[in-house]
């Protein structure tokens, strides 16, 4: 079971990343759960300064941008 978290305060970019990551994981046929983290004090625990950030299995794999679909798949499976 993969855990995918999106860190962001709820701006347009964060929602876009959420949808893109959800789609990527679906297309990969993974078993996963998605979570939105909106509490800024939680971001600190992950060491994230620039949102939106993508956290896969408690590891920050991207921050501050929306990776392309191919890149997302690669980041999620890694």
């Amino acid at each position: 079971m993969k855990s995918i978290k999106i860190l962001g305060t709820g701006c347009a970019k964060c929602n876009k990343l959420y949808e893109a990551a959800d789609q990527a994981a679906k297309e990969l046929g993974l078993e996963y759960e998605m979570e939105k983290v909106t509490d800024m004090n939680e971001f600190i625990k992950y060491g994230v300064m620039v949102t939106p950030a993508l956290v896969v299995d408690a590891e920050v794999v991207s921050a501050g941008s929306i990776p392309s679909m191919d890149k997302l798949k690669q980041l999620i499976t890694k």
Binding site: G8, T9, G10, C11, A12, K13, M40, N41, F43, I44, Y46, G47, V48, M49, V50, T51, A53, V60, V61, S62, A63, G64, S65, I66
Partner: protein, 432 residues
Amino acid sequence: MIWKSEWKPLVWILSGFLIAFYLPVGISRFDNAIMEALHLVKWYAQEHVILCLVPAFFIAGAIAVFISQASVMKYLGPAANKVLAYGVSSVSGSVLAVCSCTVLPLFSGIYRMGAGIGPATAFLYSGPAINVLAIILTARVLGAPLGIARAVGAILFSIVIGLLMHFFFRKEEAAKKANMMASPEIEVKRPLWQNTIFFAMMIAILVFANWGKSDDEVGTWYQIYSMKWIITSAFALGLGFVLYLWFEIKLWKLLLVAVPVAILGVAFPEYPILSFAIGAVGLSVLTSTDKGESEEWFGQTWDFAKQILPLLLFGVLIAGLLLGRPGNEGLIPSQWVNWAVGGNSIWANLFASVVGAFMYFATLTEIPILQGLVGNGMGQGPALALLLSGPALSLPNMLVIRTVLGTKKTIVFVLLVIVMSTISGMIFGHFY
């Protein structure tokens, strides 16, 4: 009847009915205020949308896509040079704070993981005031001196506030243990000088297209004014080349846009706005139908437009209703405005700062509201004070800041913002 779930629609209907029942139609002040609101919206639509807001959205979109936030943040990380960190945090709002929702997370990041409370509060103060959209629209609507004063004031005083915050809380700062910052790899797609030229072209188009007519019909400024469309076209051509060379936009597509724009420009020289509008539509089509980063650029531009235009329209309507166009009155009598924030007394500046600090302004709506206030007799100094304290703080975001800084530091920060905004308002008001 299930009142538990039905009371809400009932309240809505009742209040709608009461408002309609007591609608002050026919009272001349109210009727006049409605007309003022409509006139003001029309004026914004005619004067500011095509030449100013549309290019500004493209620039803001490009900043969001082509400038890597992570590369700026490395100057504000835990290992950052302290002197450099103050400089970077005071100006980086112009590229980091394009979307107002990113300001607070960045602030808490700089505070907790990065360069500490000084640079973090400096960023929080200057960020919302110096984002590109805010500066462009301030200068356009409220005049260049106020636009420039807003940017310069925000940058200078943010450093003062940052240093003071650091000084007050230096003991706690020293005891704080540094957190690790996660820094995923940064992809560099294009050398910095190419990006610089790209942004310079777009900013030049914006500046020259909006070049104001000077009072005298002689001198360099008037020369530039009389040639502004030729200069703008030259930069537009330059932008076309940049897109072709470095952004992989096909030449035939660019020509498909450039040729009609040129034909319209030559055929209707008295309506340059027509060419400009077609050019903007063309650029939208080019970028939105492309693959990769150009499409992303348009996506961001579109997001900004979608997010900001309705807010601004609403803000302009409210400002027009309450305050009217410059020189006219809305619902609020001019004497009230004059009494509260007229002239340049310490009281007027302080009042403007305090109101600005607590009131919430949706992105950019501070500008039409301020325009209305200035038109009703607000002094230039208090106007600057409000512009500085307004976007940086509001009651809702004070509550968020409190969860990051704690109550004591938040109160000190709010007081500093009010004091500094008052002082900069008084200095500016003294000269203008």
